[in-house]
Every structure is written in C-alpha cells, then in structure tokens.
Symmetry: D2
Subunit: 394 residues, 4 copies
Amino acid sequence: MSQAPLDLTRRTKEFIARSVLPSDDEFDGDVMAAGGSELRHRLQEAARAAGLFAPHAPLEHGGLGLGMTARAPVFEEAGYSLFGPLALNIAAPDEGNVHLLSHVATAEQKAQFLDPLARGHCRSAFAMTEPSPGSGSDPTALNTVATKADGGWLLNGRKWFITGADGADFFIVMARTSGEAGDAGGATMFLTAASAEGLTVGRHVPTMDRSMIGGHCEMTFVDVFVADNDVLGGVDEGFRYAQVRLGPARMTHVMRWLGAARRAHEVAVQHVVTREAFGSRLSDLGMIQQMIADNEIDLAATRALLLSACAELDAGDRASKATSITKTFAAEALDRVADRAMQMCGGLGVAADLPVAKIARELRPFRIYDGPSEVHRWSIAKRAVRTIAGAQHG
Amino acid sequence: MSQAPLDLTRRTKEFIARSVLPSDDEFDGDVMAAGGSELRHRLQEAARAAGLFAPHAPLEHGGLGLGMTARAPVFEEAGYSLFGPLALNIAAPDEGNVHLLSHVATAEQKAQFLDPLARGHCRSAFAMTEPSPGSGSDPTALNTVATKADGGWLLNGRKWFITGADGADFFIVMARTSGEAGDAGGATMFLTAASAEGLTVGRHVPTMDRSMIGGHCEMTFVDVFVADNDVLGGVDEGFRYAQVRLGPARMTHVMRWLGAARRAHEVAVQHVVTREAFGSRLSDLGMIQQMIADNEIDLAATRALLLSACAELDAGDRASKATSITKTFAAEALDRVADRAMQMCGGLGVAADLPVAKIARELRPFRIYDGPSEVHRWSIAKRAVRTIAGAQHG
Amino acid sequence: MSQAPLDLTRRTKEFIARSVLPSDDEFDGDVMAAGGSELRHRLQEAARAAGLFAPHAPLEHGGLGLGMTARAPVFEEAGYSLFGPLALNIAAPDEGNVHLLSHVATAEQKAQFLDPLARGHCRSAFAMTEPSPGSGSDPTALNTVATKADGGWLLNGRKWFITGADGADFFIVMARTSGEAGDAGGATMFLTAASAEGLTVGRHVPTMDRSMIGGHCEMTFVDVFVADNDVLGGVDEGFRYAQVRLGPARMTHVMRWLGAARRAHEVAVQHVVTREAFGSRLSDLGMIQQMIADNEIDLAATRALLLSACAELDAGDRASKATSITKTFAAEALDRVADRAMQMCGGLGVAADLPVAKIARELRPFRIYDGPSEVHRWSIAKRAVRTIAGAQHG
Amino acid sequence: MSQAPLDLTRRTKEFIARSVLPSDDEFDGDVMAAGGSELRHRLQEAARAAGLFAPHAPLEHGGLGLGMTARAPVFEEAGYSLFGPLALNIAAPDEGNVHLLSHVATAEQKAQFLDPLARGHCRSAFAMTEPSPGSGSDPTALNTVATKADGGWLLNGRKWFITGADGADFFIVMARTSGEAGDAGGATMFLTAASAEGLTVGRHVPTMDRSMIGGHCEMTFVDVFVADNDVLGGVDEGFRYAQVRLGPARMTHVMRWLGAARRAHEVAVQHVVTREAFGSRLSDLGMIQQMIADNEIDLAATRALLLSACAELDAGDRASKATSITKTFAAEALDRVADRAMQMCGGLGVAADLPVAKIARELRPFRIYDGPSEVHRWSIAKRAVRTIAGAQHG
C-alpha cells in the first residue's frame, strides 16, 4: 500500500469545508433533496480536481492506495460532512465493494466491475440482508437461493435494507447455493447488472437517515440469471468472503461517522461559547463542561480503538475481535456525542437551523446497521469465554 | 374537582385505538400531513361523541373537571397516540392555557378566552420563549417589553419556539413591564388576539418533532396594543403566575409522553416475540429481556414519580421540587424507553414501518423543552443545598 | 393494621441521631467491633424506652402494628444509621421472619417463636440459600432434603449466606420434601432451634458488609430432627409461603437502605458546602450540582416506587411485579447515590473519617442479595412479554 | 530508551502467577497483613532473581530502561496482582519518583536518592496533597511554606493522603517559596530524609484500599531544614516539574490498574462458566454475556487510549490532553469492570473467597486519587473550548 500524499488530511478538511458542507447544510443532509445523482457527479468532479478522489482505491484503478491506518484521518475529515464520503467516492456500500473486489475478483471482473466503480463511473450495492425470516442479524438465515442452470445460476429471493440499491449499476448478491437456512456454509456471492431480467428494486424503506444515495431498498429476484464468470470468489464460500469485506467496512464506517460526530461536537462547543444563561457563558457552566469533556473522551476513545484495529488489519490479521469491539463502542459513543451536542444547543439542537439534529438522525441507525450492538456483544462474549475459560467452553 | 367518570381510562384507551391511531400511523405522526386543522376538527368531534372531550377542563366550560391525579391515567392513554391529546383537546399549549386561565383569568376573560378554548372552538399559544439573548432557559432574561399607553399597553419584541402559534386564535404573551432583563420580577402576562395589528407569526422553527399542530414558530410584536382589560393577572406578577401554569403543565407533558413511550415499548415487545435469530425467539434472549425489563422499570418509576407529584399538586402545594424531579427523570427515562424500543426492533426500529422511530423523534426534544434537564438539575441541587446544609448556604 | 403513633417518624429520626449514630460512627458500622449482642441489647433497651420498638410487629406481640405504607418513613429513618434497624428490632432477617410467622404460624408456633422474636428476646435466621449447585438465584435448585421420620422429619444438607445465623436462637429452614432439585414445588419450611442436634453454624462468609449481626454464615444439617408440629405452613408449600415473606421483605430492605443512602447524600452535601476549589465553593460547581441533583432524583424515584408497591401490598395484592421493579431500581439507584456521595467527598469519600465509604460498602451487596438484578430483570421481562404479547407467549 | 527484553511480558505474567498471587490472595490484598516490609523484601528478591526487577528504571541504576509504550504490557501483568508492582519496584509512589528524579535530579541527588530507590534499597513518598483548605484537587492552593534560611530552607505545614509515607526513607516535598495560596507559580520541590528533625509521619488515613505499603498518611513539617543542595529542580518551578511526574505517573497507574481489573474480569468469566441457573450455564445467559462483552470493550478501550498516550509521551510531548482523557476514562471504565465482575460472581462477588471484591475496593479510589474525574473533565473541557472556539474563549 502506498504512503498518504503529503497533507492529504489537511487538504481533505479544506475541501470538505469549501466544496461540500454548503450543499449538506442547505439541504439538511438529505441527499435526494440536494440533487441525488446530479449532486454526486458535481461533488466527485470537484474531488477529482482537488486530487482527493478515491483515497482508498488501488493506484491502478485511479485511487490513492491508502491502507486502513492511513485512511482513518482522511475518512474522518470526509465524514465531517454527510456528503463528504460521496464526494470522495468512499461512501458505503461502494467503498466496501471496492475493497472486496480488489481482494477477491478475477482480472476480468476487476476490469468490468471494480475499475469503473473505483473511478466513480458507476454505483453498486451489496445485497445480503433479507426480511424476516431471513438473513438479518444472523446472516446464516439466508433464504435467497441460487440454483445451478446451464452456464450459470438462477437467483430467487427477496432482500431489503439494500443500501444504495436505487440507481446502482450492479449488485453483489449473496445467495444460498447449498445447505439450508441456518447452515454456516453454502452461501455464494454473485455479480449482476441492475439491468438483469427478473431483478427489481422496490420501495425505499422509510428510514430516519437521509444521506445515503440510493436509499435502503427492498429488492426481489425472480429467476435472475448469473453467468458462471460472474460468481465472485468460490462457490459456497460466500460467508468467508463476506468477512473480507465486513471487518474493514465496519472500520471505514467508524471513520466516517467519527467525522460527523466531531462536527456535531464542534458546532455545539461553538454554540455554548456564544450563549449566556443565569449570568454565565454556557461554556463556563460545569454541566456543560461535563458534556464537552465526555464528548472529547468518547471521540478520543473511538479514535484510539479505531487505530488499534486498523493496525491489526494492516498487519494482515482478520481482527474480528478488534473490529467488533471498535464498531460496538464507536456506534454507541458517537451516538452519545451527537446526543450531548443536541442537549448543549438547547432548542436549536433539535432544529435544522444547526447541523446537529441531522447528524444525530444519521448516526442513530449505526447502532443497528452492520450488526446491532447486541449481536456484536454476543460474539465478543463468546470469544472471551473461549479465550479465558479455555477450549472446553464457549 | 370531580370524580373521573366510570371507566374513563378504559374508554379513552379504546377510543384512541379505534379513532386516532389509524391517522397517526398513516401519516407517521406528522400533524400537518395528516390534515392539520381539518384533522383536529374531525378528531375532536369524535371525542365529543364518545364523551371523552376535555377531561381536564372545568365542568362549567364543558369539561370533565378532573384533578391532576385523576388526569394521569387518562392523559397517558391519550398520549398513546401522538394525535390523541389533540383529539381530547388536552394537547400543549391549550391544555396548560386552560389550566392557567381557569386559575387566573377574570370572569370576562374566562367568557372571552377560556370558554371557547376549553370547548375546542379556538386554539391558543403561550408566548414566553425568546431568541438569544432573551428569555430561554433563563426566563428572567425577558426582553420583550410592554410600555404603558392610553387604556392599555404596547408590546414590542421577538419570540420563538412558540408552540401552536401558527393558526392560534389568541396568545398569552409574557412581556417586561418594569425592571431590566435579568430581574426576577417585572413581567406581566397579556391576552391578545392573533388578529392584533403588529403581531406577526413567522416561520416554523424546523424542529425534529412534527406532531404539534401549529408548529413551533417565530413571532414579532411591533407596537401591539393590549387593552388594560386584557392583562392576565396582576401587572409585574407574570413570573409568579407562570409558576401556576408551569408545574402542572410539566406533569401533563409527562402523562402524555408516558403514553407515547409505553406504545413504543409495547410495539417493540410485540415485535420481538415474532422474530428469531440464532435459533431463539428474540424475546427469549437475555440482552433483549434486559431492554424489556429496563423499559418496564423506567415506565414504572416515571408513573410513580408522576402520581406522587400530582398528589402534592392536588393538595394545593406548589410542588416545585416534585415537578422538577419528575419532569427531569421522565424526559430522560422515556427517551431511554424509546431508544431501547428502536434497538429491539432492529432495522424496523429506525424506519417508519413501525411507529417507534416517530415516537423517539417526538420524545427527544422533551429533554430540552419546558426547561432543559440541566436547568432543572441546577434548581434541584440549589434547593437540596438549602434544605440539607441550612439557610446560610445555597 | 393500626395507625402510626403521632410523630413517629420524627421521633425515630431524633432517636437515631441521639442514641444510635454515635456507636455506628465510632466503629465504622462494624456491628461486631461495636459490641455485637451487647450492642444489640443496649440499643434495643433504648428503643423500648423511647417507645419506638418493633413498629412492624403486631400489637399483641408488643409492636406498633404498622402496615407497609406506614412503615416506610419510619424504617427509612431507622436505616439512617446502619445500627438503627437493629435498635428497633426491624433488621433483616428477624423483621421478615416476624412478618412471615404472623401470617403463617400456628397459635402454638406464634407463642413459641413469634412472640419472643417480636419482643427482641431472641434472634432468628431464614435458611434458604445454598452453595452451588443448589438454591441460590434459582430457589428451585433446592438440595437440602427433609425425609419423613417418626413424628417428624430429618433434615440433611448445606446452606450458606445465612444472614444472622451466628447467634440465632432458631431457624426457619427451607428443605425439599418431594420432587427433585429444579422442581417448582416440593419445598417445605421447618422451624428448628439452634440447639438442635446435627445443626451446625460454620464460618462467616467474609463479605464486604459488616453491619449485620450474626454475619452471613455457612450451615450444615446432618439428620436434624424437626417434629411435625414445627412444620411452618403446609408440607410441600414452602415456595408459596416464601413469597409471603419475600415481597414485603424486599420492600423493608429498600426502606432501610433508602435511609442509609440518604445519609451518605446528606453528609456529602454538607461536605461540599464547606470546601472550595479553584475559587468556588464546591457546591456551586456544576458537576457537583449535577451529582447532588442526580442523588435527589434517585432518592425521590426510589421513594415513589416504594410507596406505590407498599400501597399494593397493603391492599392485599401479591405485588410481585411492583416489588421486583422497586427492589431492582432501588438497589441500583441507592448504590449510585452512595457512589456519587463518595465522589463528592473526594479523598474523604473513600476513608472512614466520613460515614460515606461504609455506607457504600454496605449497599453494594444489595444489588446481589435478595435476588440479583439480573434475575429480577429476567422475571420482569417474562411477565411483560406475557402481559403485552398475550398468553401464547412468555 | 532500551528495547524490552525478549518475552518480558510473558515472563512477568508467569512470575506474578507463581510468586506473587499466592500471598495476595492469602491476605486479601492487605499489604500489612501480608507482611509489610518483610513481604516487600521477599517479593523484590524473587523479582531480581527472575530478572524482572525495575523494568522502568534507567539501565545505569539497575533497571531495564523501558520507555512508556514498552512498559505498558509489563506493568499490566505486574498489576494483575495487587502486590505485583511492589515486587517489581514499580509501585506508586516510588515508580513516579524514579521517573521524576531521573529527569530532574542533579548527579549528586541521583547518587544519593535515585540510585538506591531504583534498586529497591529504600522507599520514598511524594508529599504534595494537603488537608482543606490546601493543595488538594487544586494544587495551587498549596499552603505548606518554605522560608529561606542560612544554607537552605525551613519547611512548615501539613500534608495528608501521602501514599507510602509510613516507612519511607525520603520525601519529595512540595512547598510554597513565593506568592500566595492560589498562585499558579511559587512552588518548589525539596528532598528530605525521613529522619529530618521536625518531620512527623502521623496516622494512616483509614481508606478503603489496603494494598499500598506505607498507607496514605498525615504528615506535619515543623521547621524542617532542607539544604540548598536538596532543592529538586529550580526554585519556584515546582508546579512545572510536577507535570514531568504527573502525566507519566497517571499512565503507569492506568497500566497497573488495567491488570487488576483484567484479573477481576477473568476470575468472573471463569466463575460463570462453572455455574448454572434456571437450566443454563451462566455464561450462556444474555445478561451475563452483556457484562462480559462490556468488560472486554472497557478493557480494550482503556488499553487503546493508554497506548496512544504513551506514544505521545515517548515522542517527547507533554501529552496533557491525552493523559487526562486516558486517566479519566480508565478510572471509570476499570471501576465498571470490577463492578460487573462482582455482579457476575453473585454472593461470592462481594466476599473475600474470590479476589474480585478486593480489586473493586482498591480500584474505586482511583476515580478520586491523581485528580478526581471532575477536575480532569474541567480541564479537558477548557482545553476543548480553547481549541475549537479559538483563542478569544476559554
């Protein structure tokens, strides 16, 4: 992996402030209201012009080739605006898909799917989650099936909460190729164009967050044909490959949301230095200082855990424990930061006149998306029991 | 005060489920999207037909005359739907204004303002809060002034976060009649029609909550004339009268939000009994059971504090300590309940498909509205120091 | 039940301050260091002289006959000193045993066991908890067995954490009379003198708390004979009768610990008004005020829940839900109160120079004793699922 | 600074388990009960024999010369036993004094004080804290004065909470040499033998913790003469030099307590895998798993913050913000870990039969010692306001 270009973090920060925040604030972080695809093209053009585009993508696909540790401060600065990740082409799910494809795809698949994706010429989505009973918190409940056909596979099933699906040019679809719902194996990943016959993107699930282009959509697959060449990785190895994507994708989520939470905090601090009550500047009141300090502590602990997990990932480890702990802590800590920022701003904290309530609205779902805290805690605990109490337990 | 009619709580519960919840859920708790004034008239007509209208208002003004303790379970049932208080004519700020007017207004003022308000023939607002620097968390920072004129007063100043202002027929306006911003006295309450010359209702502050008819608005007063007859209570005694309104109004807020939070909890419990993950029904998993139990505890503690404060109020006490403690605990506890309910519902918890996210959105501002938790804690602590450490301190 | 004598709460408060607190503070709440049985006799004599003895016991057994609601403020005042409950003869486990015997015992048993116990002429213990695997958090795991013998029963088994066992004159012993460990029925309660052959009180479990006379002891039963007349209640109905004791006993625990926590809080408030740092009196600093306010809130919420549960009990209800919620909330809230009080007192908060650290030390185990919070939450959640989601679930 | 010898962490871990934990557990972590000075000599001899002695001390003074980052895992292993730091000669306050002297002392002072201290030939204490009103949370309130005399200084004043004072061979005393209590400057550090005339070590403050050799003592200084040669660092620069000690000392505290908390956690995990309730192994119950996971998260976040702060210190930064955040987070997080461990162990969690309650007892004061959380938060908040809102504020 390459070195971060000189001053990349600082330049990203300046770019976000100058070129991205204005649209974000004007439209309360609502990506469709702010222009949708048109917004995306405009912001990405500006990022290219600034030399900041695709910091995570491999050099041969037009990116800056940063590893996980080098990404962290850059992604944090991008996340300072809800539209920043879109501008730099490092928003979920494209960013994670670039990561996955660069590790798993064949040369042909890279040419066809990875290269245009990394360069921002198209959008993608990762179709794993299913409505109940199906692959939700428990991925092995996978119900979408792929049955072997001549020269390929036929996909049938339903998905939902597929981020970015509306307008995506292609999908990575997880489907069961052997075994039954509940089995730990038997899943396979398929690449399929959005235009494939039988593939339908349905309604947007009406979630509280509004900054993700393409929404979180329902999808149906009816006899969607995928050629053998478009199987991503090995047949029946989908869950294993999903892990390649999952750990790093969690950490880049944390990087981006860390930036957003930091913004809420900074806006709140700037607010309390300008207001008075009961004869004191708000920022001189102990209860306000406690919220400021708790925010600083939560931000610092999130950053420390993040860098620690990134170092493990850069060293080639799976880092399942570290990424699970970091994701869980971060999702809750950053939610607290946004909540305290709202409280510090009083009435304006729950209004769109300041950019705090919108950040809180975008952050809250992260305690559920990418594995609810409860599922991560369950997995952390089981691992701890095995490690501490020995092989016979857990 | 009168006895609660037989079965009033049960009948309110049934009425809400049958006649109010459907609109609430169809329009995600957005009162304007659901019809605004048209919705209000329709729901109130239904409540009148069911004999449930205005349970708090004096009998002579068409109400059921319930005291605070008797109101609690009825208001809780009304609050089970975000539109329930509107239906029963017990929504803020009208409900608090009915209380205030019935205690402070002259016979003429009662005829002109209280009676039609209690009967739902008009709407009102309470114009106290001002933009910074002004009367916010610290009411004594009051900047709106009333200067004596021939036969009345001229009001000048700005207000904001005036709940229900858009479409209100009259206002109770707090303005300074002597002293300076920061003085503990010198405020007076004025009654003025919305049609008064010089009175302007401006934009809605774009808050996260959307269930309050008439929004939270900005207002300006430019030489608004109020006749001497329309002074509410004594000149320079506004802060004292505001207390008459404030304590009970906080408690009725708690009653209504208690119902809303209980709904979020019940929806979440009903959700987790129908879902499985990792081979268990969600409701059988310990981490889910912990959230269920914590919700039950928070709801029970809120209800216990509420009834205890209501008993003090019904006994004629000011109950400042009890209402302050109850408001602070309740706002935080009910916010926790809604947050856990979201978490229990997973992805659906942050989507409009279930009525949980909307309740969370409406509840969050209550930790700020009607005195932020920090201001209440400051006042609770000062009182404790005086009580415990004696008169020489505090 | 009788009315509380006039001014009983105030007189109890004064008695505790004058006659009990000095010994408590001199010996850091360590009942053995303060004199053990000699202390008990001295304090109880003083309480009798003051007309405050045994407020809970039936009138015919020398008590004041107070119901649960009337007990609450009196027991809270008694709990203000760690030795107060001992002085008034309302300490665990005697207080709960008086309650149980007065509801379940035969006339002869009352004469032999209840009367001297209520009058303070002897001490008792309740022998239910067993070492693992046995009757701990899960009472049905009961392993101590009673086998039928001629004219009575033979008890065999081990117990531990038997509060007050060392020096107790008699025991109420829970033993299995039918079924197997894990069965919900088949337990019976037996009355046995401490002098019974085969009954041994072993070492004190070295717990952090030190204010309970007789400690928390290990016991063994080897062929201990109990005559048929000394079966308490019906054979095989022990678990049902245990419920008679359990709910009220939890509430009287809450009453006493509420007093102790309130003392820690008051001491801390009195401390912070006398200290300065950084140019301010500590009690004027926002972070200290926040702790003061949070303590006030926790104390008020505990008291409100307690009175609500007592009202249910006085009305003759089992009140399982209310007592479970109240016990769980109170144990955690009062622990928080003591913890904040320590923090407010700085270095002195963790030293014996102030009576705060000792109160924290005594309070902490209450989150475990009488059902750990986790077991109560489990039961609260199961009940909520049944109530909300209907009979087919839970 | 030197590299850590190969396998130092692993060897430390084994040494602690084999040679230190047995005494710790036999005597419930009470250092005096376990032998006091005799214990110290025995354990230190064993550590020397194992080649593990004084990992932090400079090579030329017989240590291993580790920097802060290298110390972290070694100190954590030492802290696994409450007596481990004493064994390795890295207990407070000697460890911090070695650090301070190696940075500030003259060559002669190093020979006289540092070298024997680093080699374990003597003990020391750091006499800064004073009873109220004096140098407590607010060091500038310093009341002990040093007045110039012929060839030296005369010290007069009172100190308390002086850790390790009883039995210390020499003291580093902070005294005011100019200005008045409250001034930010004017303090000086003095080296004085315990045998100095006029220096008295008084009673041990009866704190809840019992693992610190020499206790936390009161001291008085009456005309104690200190020669000019024994001034440590520059006159009037005491507060500045104290910072040299403070940041690293806070971090080594965190390292040691991290080990202690980890032990409590591991003991609890080992406990819950062996117990059953309601038909499940405790470690399979969700509420227990949640406590396990929360402990893992708190330990990981503490470690991540710690290493991040150590990296700053090793780079030569003052790292005031990082050490303040890390100390505050760690003290609270590790207290939570110990508290959860107690809860997981049920009745045994609050008894001396397991080593959990003693760890909780030792950890609690760390939220107060070395700067209460409130003072750190105040300082963190002020710094944040300056950084975020600019030079004109804060």
